[in-house]
């Protein structure tokens, strides 16, 4: 088991930045430390690239990194309409696991988890990846049957998974209320010890820094407003910073995927919803693992800094506004308190929402499109963070070779016509 590492990213030594004697004529702010070293350049966009990636979140940055590292393709731009990794990459609850039911999902999520296990060394950057395990609680007899089935499926796919009885759950996470006297008693849980959390910002910065070293242009404040398609083939993108020609264009726009795809005349089976999360004030370490409950609808971990990080299901209606309704959070807190009575006096510090693009079968769409040299990565819904290195790896392969990687081959757009769905609703061990 990898122990959590609490070393922060390299910063200039305080001795060199803080001990400057203020000049007698110093103005306000002159005594403040210098800005830390920038981790990437902020280049002007060139007029053309071999590959343009639309979306500078985790998936876009990881894809850029693996395009360079695995395929030697470095004439690449990542276009981000806001600031780098400021969308869902900044808003998720950072849970990493691979205990999905179906073989197709196991394949790509376990590939991702294996990459997570060496990512810190690979990126040469601290990402605070902590394999503290995940418990998926069962609250009913049907939950128990479904959970055990998933454990068996995971084991057949070589994924670490075990079934724990309530007393064993209490040993892994002593603050979970396993008393039978609650409305939805904990009847057991599945446990994946290799699951965990990572520091989402550092993950994005780590990928961005290495992509930049390879010469990839990370272009912020550059919104794509149109796609140039001639003769059924992509030729480039139009942006708020001018047109950019491209040999290939790869979409990685998460919640805005439908908006992007419509610029190519593509209709996607996606619905964009707000997904909310929140953190508490900073607390002493009390929660040693990750706990998720499908039935009472909450998932909780404790970040390295000490805040409890909690999320729930999506808000029911479509939304692009990056905010959700308060009663959703209220219900989520009620669920959290039932499971963790010890949280009763904790204060909520901050809530927020991201926009998640949900598919009908709760599995992603990664691969080719009817437009030549235009590639699609979307539909990760509520669970895209854990896939960041895995999908970056596979999407880069798809873009570089023009053929899907075996791990993303099942996740085609046309599965909704052929019927070859990968139905992870509920079976994914999490409420959607």
């Amino acid at each position: 088991m990898t122990l959590p590492r609490d070393n922060a990213p390299a910063r200039p030594s305080p001795a060199t930045t803080l001990n400057r004697a203020p000049h007698p004529d110093a103005g306000p702010g002159d005594a403040l430390p210098d800005h830390p070293d920038f981790l990437w350049r902020n280049p002007e966009p060139k007029r053309s690239y071999d590959v343009v990636i639309v979306g500078g979140g985790g998936h876009g940055l990881a894809t850029a990194y693996y395009l360079a590292k695995n395929h030697g393709i470095t004439n690449v731009a990542v276009l981000e309409k806001g600031w780098l990794a400021g969308g869902n990459m900044a808003r998720n609850t950072t849970i990493i696991r691979s205990n999905y039911l179906w073989d197709e999902s196991s394949g790509i999520y376990e590939h991702s988890l294996k990459l997570w296990e060496t990512l810190e060394e690979d990126l040469d950057y601290p990402i605070l990846f902590s394999q503290r395990g995940v418990l998926n609680l069962a609250h009913s007899l049907q939950d128990i049957r479904d959970s055990k089935r998933r454990v068996h499926a995971n084991q057949l796919n070589g994924i670490d998974a075990e079934w724990l009885e309530p007393d064993e759950v209490a040993k892994v996470c002593p603050i979970v209320n396993v008393s039978p006297d609650v409305r939805y008693p904990v009847l057991g849980a599945t446990y994946q010890p290799r699951a965990g959390i990572a520091k989402h910002d550092y993950v994005a910065w780590g990928f961005a820094r290495r992509a930049d070293v390879y010469g990839i242009d990370l272009i912020q404040d550059c919104e794509v407003t149109g796609l140039d398609i001639q003769g059924g083939r992509i030729r480039g993108v139009r942006t708020t910073r001018g047109p950019i020609a491209a040999g290939k264009v790869a979409l990685a726009g998460a919640g805005h995927s439908s908006v992007l795809a419509s610029m190519a005349g593509l209709r996607l089976p996606l619905q964009s919803h707000p997904l909310q999360a929140l953190v508490s004030e900073l607390l002493e370490p009390v929660h040693p693992t990750v706990v998720m409950s499908n039935a009472v609808h909450v998932y909780v971990s404790q970040a390295h800094k000490g805040e409890l990080v909690m999320g729930a299901g999506i808000d029911s209606y479509n939304g692009y506004g990056q905010r959700g309704a308060f009663h959703i959070l209220e219900r989520q807190m009620a669920a959290a308190l039932e499971l963790f009575p010890v949280f009763a006096r904790a204060h909520m510090l901050r809530t927020w929402a991201g926009i998640v693009d949900v598919t009908p079968d709760a599995s992603p769409i990664v691969g080719l499109t009817p437009v030549e040299d235009l590639y699609l990565n979307c539909g990760w819904g509520t669970g895209g963070f854990k896939a960041t290195p895995g999908v970056g790896w596979c999407y880069a392969h798809t873009i570089a070779t023009g053929q899907p990687h075996p791990y993303n081959a099942p996740f085609t757009l046309d599965r909704f016509t052929t019927g070859a769905l990968v139905d992870e609703h509920g079976a994914a061990a999490v409420a959607h």
Binding site: L268, Q271, S272, N318, G321, F416
Partner: protein
């Protein structure tokens, strides 16, 4: 909590309502004539509009009746509510305003 103006009950709190997705999606006239692509469109594909969006709602904890609404998916503002048999209202700002409780009372 956001208030939603039920056409029959007036403004009520959001958690009395359930969402029904895109409005004006009719069951196929001749289901046997559909090919796989057309079935996929009917079963799995819905508009994912950013901006004013016509959608179905039901006042589940009230009168339990369905109605349609034109709602902005960015601001979450309800621009209009209307009968499920009515046509899609214009998606401009000239759309009729949702009835407010005061209007309801005045019309009684």
């Amino acid at each position: 909590m956001q208030l939603i103006a039920c056409p029959w009950c007036g403004e009520r709190e959001e958690n009395e309502f359930h969402y029904g997705g895109q409005a004006h999606v009719a069951y196929p006239q001749d289901p046997y004539a559909l090919d796989d692509e057309q079935w996929a469109e009917y079963v799995f594909f819905r508009d994912n509009t950013k901006g004013p969006f016509a959608e179905r709602w039901v006042h589940a904890a009230g009168c339990r009746r369905w109605f349609n609404a034109l709602r902005d998916t960015v601001t979450h503002e309800f621009l209009a509510v209307y009968d499920v048999r009515a046509k899609h209202p214009p998606t401009t700002s000239a759309a009729p305003a949702a009835p407010r409780r005061k209007d309801q009372e005045a019309s009684r």
